[in-house]
């Protein structure tokens, strides 16, 4: 299977001698739906930033679709959903305005959006079921709907790799289930590689093919069903310290 993400003997530290990640090996094939879980501060977000080429490893290598991640040439094919706290300004951006931002890289930076870009924006809004709210300010929607809007933004870029960082933070349990089901459907319908990063994996456990547990290194990598029962409680990963 051609690889979307390849991390080989990767280590990283923000300060000399203090490793956030150590000897991480991870291969994610194109079209896989993988959850990366682990405790807060365990290195998940750092791993994600290295995989996306936003940070360079101190040791080892990180490849995206076979290219060095920090020099990846097809960035417009990456859909990324940052943590909610990092999203949005004060202005009441509507769902359509948020999703249109997803066509920035692919649709060109200057001037208004072209007709094809506008069609892709509408399609992405329909895929996440927000067509009735397209002209509603995102900040007036529920947490779950806001996340759907930002997923639609990532989808509008027609991504080959969709990366979501803690997408369910601050979202109620029912919305978490519905978000996970939406991602499963998008994965099946579009064949996009999905990387779902969270400190908890309850909501997606039933949908993902692989679960990767990270705390400085990879502690577990396999089908969720093979995960030792004790580790279904995320606090266990902390307790090992």
């Amino acid at each position: 299977m051609p690889l979307a993400v390849e991390l080989d003997r990767l280590s990283f530290g923000y300060r000399l001698g203090q490793h956030v990640l150590e000897d991480v090996n991870l291969r994610i094939g194109q079209g896989e739906f993988v959850a990366i879980a682990g405790p807060n501060g365990g290195g998940k977000t750092t791993l994600l930033r290295i995989a996306l080429g936003l940070e360079r490893p101190s040791e080892g290598k990180a490849l995206l679709f076979g290219e060095p991640a920090h020099r990846f040439s097809r960035r417009r094919t990456l859909g990324y959903l940052a943590q909610r706290s990092e999203l949005g300004g004060d202005a009441p951006a509507t769902v359509r305005e948020v999703v249109s931002a997803g066509r920035l890289a692919a649709g060109g930076l200057l001037g208004p959006l072209r007709r094809r870009d506008r069609e892709l924006v509408s399609e992405a809004i329909e895929r996440v079921g927000l067509e009735d709210r397209a002209d509603t300010p995102v900040r007036t929607l529920s947490g779950g709907m806001q996340q759907r809007a930002f997923i639609a933004k990532a989808l509008a870029a027609e991504p080959a790799l969709l990366v979501l960082d803690e997408p369910t933070t601050g979202v109620d349990a029912e919305s978490q289930e519905s978000l996970a089901a939406l991602l499963d459907r998008l994965h099946s319908d579009l064949g996009v590689t999905v990387l779902y990063v969270s400190h908890e994996f309850g909501a997606v456990e039933g949908f993902v093919e692989r679960l990767v547990l990270v705390r400085r290194s990879v502690l577990f990598d396999g089908p969720p069903g093979d995960l030792p029962g004790l580790w279904h409680d995320p606090s266990h990963v902390h307790a090992r310290d």
Partner: protein, 265 residues
């Protein structure tokens, strides 16, 4: 009011600044960098002082200092590992300290300096207006051309960066536009109030707008209205124009706040 040339020139400058300041400020406010205009203003003060010391046009030296200060704030924030507010404080205090030293060296603690600190729109000349109108038009055209990436980056800066949008270049562009706006606005509202026109109309518009685009348009409309109403009030009530313009903008914010509160009931 329009029969006097100084008021026609003042209103011309007010129209340009009333539109430009909130258009640039919109993207600062959305990034929660509302005080960047103030920081750049303090650096511009050192530029004015350098101009008075070297006997060069203070507006020109303020423009150069403001652009350098604006870019420095952005680079310190994004690459220097310095938190945004600390980067701002560093440039802010360095600018004002340098200005005080240079002003003292130039022996210029006088009316000339006060014109730049508090504005002197009623002394705008035809040449001043031509410079303000030309640079203002360039600034507005740049924002018009880059509106989509600038707005998109405020929605999700990290997502745009991952997708390869040149966020660094966009941020430096906004900082440079803010610097040009500060330098041009000095004559209208003065260095001490320059950031108010970049922030207050945007804060007011954000409370009553129904979309990002409407917030942007309303910001410019409120900025323009504040400049024209403030100048008119200053003319008839014999008040300082800079203060009158900013007080009208503050009143606009209060009205918008009450309107949004009434709408939410």
């Amino acid at each position: 009011m329009l029969e006097t040339e100084f008021m026609r020139l003042a209103l011309g400058a007010g129209v340009v600044i009333g539109l430009l300041a909130p258009a640039v400020g919109f993207f600062l406010v959305q990034r929660r960098q509302s005080l960047v205009g103030d920081g750049i203003g303090h650096v511009a003060f050192s530029g004015v002082a350098a101009g008075l010391l070297l006997d060069v046009s203070p507006v020109l030296t303020a423009l150069v200092a403001a652009v350098l200060g604006g870019v420095a704030i952005e680079l310190l924030r994004s690459r220097g590992g310095t938190a945004g507010d600390q980067a701002l404080a560093l440039v802010f205090y360095t600018g004002i300290a340098l200005g005080v030293v240079l002003v003292s060296s130039a022996g210029a603690l006088n009316v000339d300096l006060f014109q730049y600190l508090f504005g002197s729109i009623l002394t705008v000349t035809r040449t001043d207006l031509a410079v303000i109108a030309t640079l203002g038009a360039v600034g507005l055209a740049t924002i018009g051309l880059l509106y989509r990436p600038l707005a998109g980056a405020t929605v999700d800066e990290e997502g745009a960066r991952v997708a390869g949008v040149p966020i660094g270049a966009l941020n430096v562009t906004v900082a440079s536009l803010a610097a040009v706006t500060v330098a041009l606005s000095m004559r209208v509202v003065g260095i001490l109030l320059v950031a108010a026109l970049m922030v207050l109309p945007v804060s007011a518009a954000t409370r009553i707008a129904w979309s990002m685009r409407s917030a942007f348009g309303l910001s410019m409309a409120i900025g323009l209205g504040s400049a024209l109403a403030g100048l008119s009030i200053a003319y008839y009530a014999d008040l300082p124009p800079g203060g009158a313009i900013v007080l009208v903008a503050s009143a606009g914010f209060v009205v918008a706040l009450v309107a949004s509160w009434l709408r939410g009931r």
